[in-house]
């Protein structure tokens, strides 16, 4: 007989001080004794995950051994950079702001992206803004993506993206995360520091990251925490209110875009609970009761979680070798 308590929002509660201490201690130990580095580089977006991660890094190794990077581009909101700088000052760490837009222009990021957008919406051009929205998974359909664009006069266009155009837009946009990672490793190499990756559990489990982009790092201190736990931890760590109250966005496309409309089936609080429930073998009917949705819809959410997990396997997979090289097995 199971002794599991009934599903409720309380399952996500944490002893925040104990958790912060545990993470900081392990992060310090891993940096010194496993990674053999002298400090930590953290790229901060002004969002909750990178903010909590850098605060934990400071707690782990001290503000003198943490280097922050703020790396905006054309489609970043101005407020995210301001929040990033305010956080770096709040924590007292060294930081650098570098606009990566010129490099993205040079590498063709916007050109490739806009070419694919214009195949779907020919009038897209100067003064237009856009975003990609996910659709289908929560209704029991296969996920597909829609392009939404708004013109200079406010005219709105919405088109289902065919595979070729979707892949090209995403591939071009992924330049942003990959270029940021290149800069993070430049500074890490120059300082002999390690790079901190900042995914929360939802992102890590469901594949909301770019392989060899923001998915790349030496250590990921909050990958085991649900997003609402990260918010709670950030508040516990005393981060500024403008950070702990910010709505999570992708900050990647020119139209404002919530993470839930781009990738997740539900707002993060509900998604956290659904993922926790899935991980603890809670039935769809019990999840449905707590989320106040039908059992059928709860089952669709479970199915969507599993579908994304299958897709995520590729993102986590290291390069496949033709033969195992056992001499190089790493010891932790």
């Amino acid at each position: 007989m199971s002794t599991r308590q009934r599903l409720s929002w309380a399952v996500l509660n944490l002893d925040l001080e104990a958790e912060a201490t545990k993470i900081a201690n392990k992060l310090r130990e891993m940096t010194a004794n496993v990674l053999h580095k002298r400090g930590l580089v953290v790229a901060i977006s002004g969002g909750i995950d990178s903010s909590a991660s850098i605060a934990l890094a400071v707690r782990a190794v001290g503000k003198e051994r943490v280097y922050a990077l703020v790396l905006p581009e054309r489609d970043s909101s101005e407020d995210s950079s301001l929040r990033g700088v305010a956080l770096a000052k709040h924590l007292g760490v060294r930081y650098e702001v570098q606009d990566i837009a010129p490099a993205l222009v040079g590498i063709g990021c916007y050109k490739w992206r806009d070419e694919a957008i214009r195949r779907a919406i020919p009038e897209y051009g100067e003064g237009w803004r856009m975003k990609i929205v996910i659709s289908g998974g929560t209704e029991g359909r296969f996920n597909h993506f829609k392009l939404i664009a708004v013109g200079p006069s406010g005219e709105r266009r919405e088109e289902r993206l065919n595979l070729q155009d979707y892949l090209q837009i995403v591939a071009a946009t992924n330049f942003k995360q990959r270029l940021r990672k290149t800069l993070e490793y430049f500074h890490a190499d120059r300082l002999n520091y390690a790079v901190v990756g900042t995914p929360n559990r939802l992102e890590y489990d469901q594949g909301f990251f770019v392989k060899n982009g923001d998915g790349s790092a030496d250590v990921k201190p909050i990958a085991h925490l649900y997003k609402s736990q990260v918010y709670a931890l950030a508040r516990h760590l005393g981060l500024p209110e403008r950070i702990t109250s910010a709505v999570p966005t992708t900050d990647t496309y020119s139209l404002p875009q919530g993470q839930d409309e781009f990738y997740f089936a539900l707002p993060y609080q509900q998604m956290d609970l659904a993922l926790w429930a899935r991980n603890h073998d809670v039935s769809a009917s019990e999840l449905g009761e707590v989320l106040q949705i039908s059992t059928e819809k709860a089952q669709f959410i479970y199915d969507d979680i599993e579908a994304k997990r299958r897709t995520t396997q590729y993102l986590h997979r290291p390069p496949v070798l033709m033969e195992e090289i056992i001499e190089l097995h790493l010891q932790v």
Binding site: F142, N143, H144, L163, Q164, A307, K308, R310, T311
Partner: protein, 83 residues
Amino acid sequence: MSIKQQVRHFILTNYLFTEDPSKLADAQSLMQSGAMDSTGILELIMFLEEKFAIKIADDEMVPDNLDAVDNVVAFVERKQAAR
């Protein structure tokens, strides 16, 4: 080639890199078996729309229509009959 032959050939050669018919059962779930992921489904939809001159609506993008060779063939036949 029949619809089934064309669909099977596309899945075998495009996703599984083989022409061995024993590698694909007509009733098997393409997603559960790992033959296809979510990107693969979008690729299948593009193939069906181009090959069979049909337009697949958002609410038709469901496993009952697309998650097995048998389902795909029945779906294409229904779409063509409705034209």
